[in-house]
Amino acid sequence: MPIHEKSLIAPEDLMTSDKLVVDGVDVSGHWNTMIKPRYVSDYDADFCKVIQGYPGGEYVHRCWQCGSCTNSCTVYAVNADFNPRYWIYLVNLGLKEELLKDKDIIWQCVSCNKCTNICPKDVRPEGVMKALQHWMEDEGHVAKSSSTLFDEEFTRQCLARGRIEDTEVITNFLRRTGQDIVELIRNGWLGIMVARMNKWPLLRQGRLGKFIVRMPILGPLKMGFMMVFKPRTRSWGNTGTVLRQYVEEQKRLAKG
């Protein structure tokens, strides 16, 4: 029978001396293995309020641990370590250290919202997952997720010019996520996508006439123009500044 408690021992809590002699008896190596105390020794009462301050985390305190969220979870079905019910409990009691042990999988939530639909206490666990991810990014516990980087670039352009340029969003996103654009065009999915958009397969088939008729010309031209001149939306004025102030203010209010 597997020893359940063994799964609770974190590797960093194990202590083993390579050389140890006790009362003349050699107990070197695994014979002297000791486990550091691993009990929960306190609650952080304010942690719950911090998470409630993030959009989506507002109702986390309602949870009564029925486990409906975890049972309905799409990600849990393929990864049993992904346990929303458990994280919500940790938030409510303020067991931050325990929570951070799972910091590298919380982002995996696919926002299918099955948990939110099934939750009898209307905790909205999907929102809690988002709130947790944002909190961890804000506190520097995890690197900014790809979706956060995308959102940031998207928002930056919206606020600056009242519009986005698709090409600029995607190039900046790829750059910020450390993806080599040139390599992606030459050997990756980006090259294949551009080639197909431009009907190059027709060219390869030797159907030159059809290729010329179908090749998008005005679109790429307009795209290039926009990339160079970065026009703002008409009468955008100070709207961006005002919006930015409003967003900051709302964030401050939410965090109390």
């Binding site: 691993r38 009990y39 929960v40 020794s41 609650y43 305190h61 009564w64 009691l93 206490k121």
Partner: protein, 349 residues
């Protein structure tokens, strides 16, 4: 056929039964062993009652006054029934104050005894001053201040341990005391109202805030008053070097041992059978069920009957019960007793 009904016990059950019988035009003799009427809510100094939110001394006080002001009700305080002779229709009770009472029927509203926390020494009651019971907390709430008994400081953290003296085979309490979950949730809210800086934790195995108590107490305490519910049965309560109490146990949802500092530990004590039940059973010739509460007869057509004809039992004497239900039991027993007397009188005529 005697037209008087003897009622034993002047708690919510007995007071309600006394009023019921008197309002149906019969004479009542009410016998209470303590020197005050009102039963546990008054004698133990409860604060606000579930679910009305009224102060016990006001709500139960009204019941007491109604009974005291009723010319049909004769009250014997500080008295016990020592002997009960005769049969249904013609009982003769001998009281400890020397009086005898002739009665056609007897209603037992003899209630319960609070569990004595000393029987769970591992949870620190009697060892540490800052371990108290829900009864003591009720008294604090009624006095309008919350403080640690050891030094009078306002606790930063209070934890309430549920199922103290309930659902515990180790000490022969194989029943759920029914009301402690709701009482504790109510208490958690009262503590927060009185001292907004105090955090309240409730350690539970299950939460049984039955019926309409669910949202009004459990949900509300959690959602509006920030009460934290922790699924752990505490193993022991000890004291740290800083004199703060330490509650030890396993948080079953984190699957990890916990040792958490607390300023005040509250035992949500259960309802035991009345300590006098063996004596009551002997004097009145009624039975005890397996846990030691009074035995109830067939309920569908002989509601609230005891093992002896002409004697009715109800309220917390039958098992853990909430005040509202006790009051209903009292009225139901009045109905049964008066009905029985009327049937007897018709037969005689």
């Amino acid at each position: 056929m005697n037209e008087t009904i003897l009622i034993v016990g002047a708690g919510p059950t007995g007071l309600s039964a006394a009023h019921g019988v008197a309002s149906a035009g019969k004479q009542v003799v009410l016998v209470e062993k303590e020197s005050r009427l009102g039963g546990a809510p008054i004698l133990s100094g409860y604060a606000r009652l579930v679910p009305s939110g009224e102060w016990a001394k006001d709500a139960i006080g009204r019941m007491v006054k109604r009974v005291e002001d009723d010319a049909r009700i004769t009250i014997h305080k500080g008295a016990k029934v020592m002997k009960l002779d005769g049969d249904s229709g013609n009982f003769i009770a001998t009281l400890s104050n020397g009086r005898t009472v002739d009665a056609g029927a007897v209603i037992l509203g003899t209630g319960f005894t609070h569990f004595d926390s000393i029987n769970k020494p591992e949870w620190g009651f009697g060892t540490y001053e800052d371990v108290v019971t829900t009864t003591q907390m009720e008294q604090m709430m009624a006095a309008g201040k919350i403080a640690c008994p050891s030094d009078g400081r306002v606790p930063e953290r209070v934890c309430i341990l549920l199922c103290v003296g309930s659902r515990d085979r180790q000490i022969g309490r194989e029943w759920c005391s029914k009301i402690c979950c709701t009482v504790s949730a109510n208490l958690a809210m009262e503590i927060k109202e009185l001292s907004p800086g105090t955090d309240v934790f409730i350690y539970y195995m299950d939460i049984r805030t039955f019926g309409l108590y669910e949202d009004k107490y459990y949900w509300r305490s959690q959602e509006e008053f920030g009460t934290k519910y922790v699924k752990a049965r505490i193993a022991e309560v000890t004291q740290g070097p800083d004199k703060r109490l330490l509650v030890k146990g396993e948080d079953t949802l984190v699957k990890r041992p916990i040792v958490i500092p607390m300023d005040l530990v509250v035992h949500a004590i259960g309802m035991d059978p009345n300590l006098d039940n063996p004596e009551i059973a002997k004097v009145f010739g009624v039975g005890l069920e397996k846990h030691g509460f009074l035995e109830r007869g067939e309920h569908y057509t002989a509601s609230f009957a005891s093992a002896r004809r002409g004697i009715y039992v109800g309220g917390a004497a039958l098992g853990p019960e909430d005040i509202d239900t006790c009051i209903s039991h009292g009225l139901a027993m009045a109905m049964r007793a008066v009905g029985e007397l009327n049937a007897g009188a018709q037969k005689a005529a």
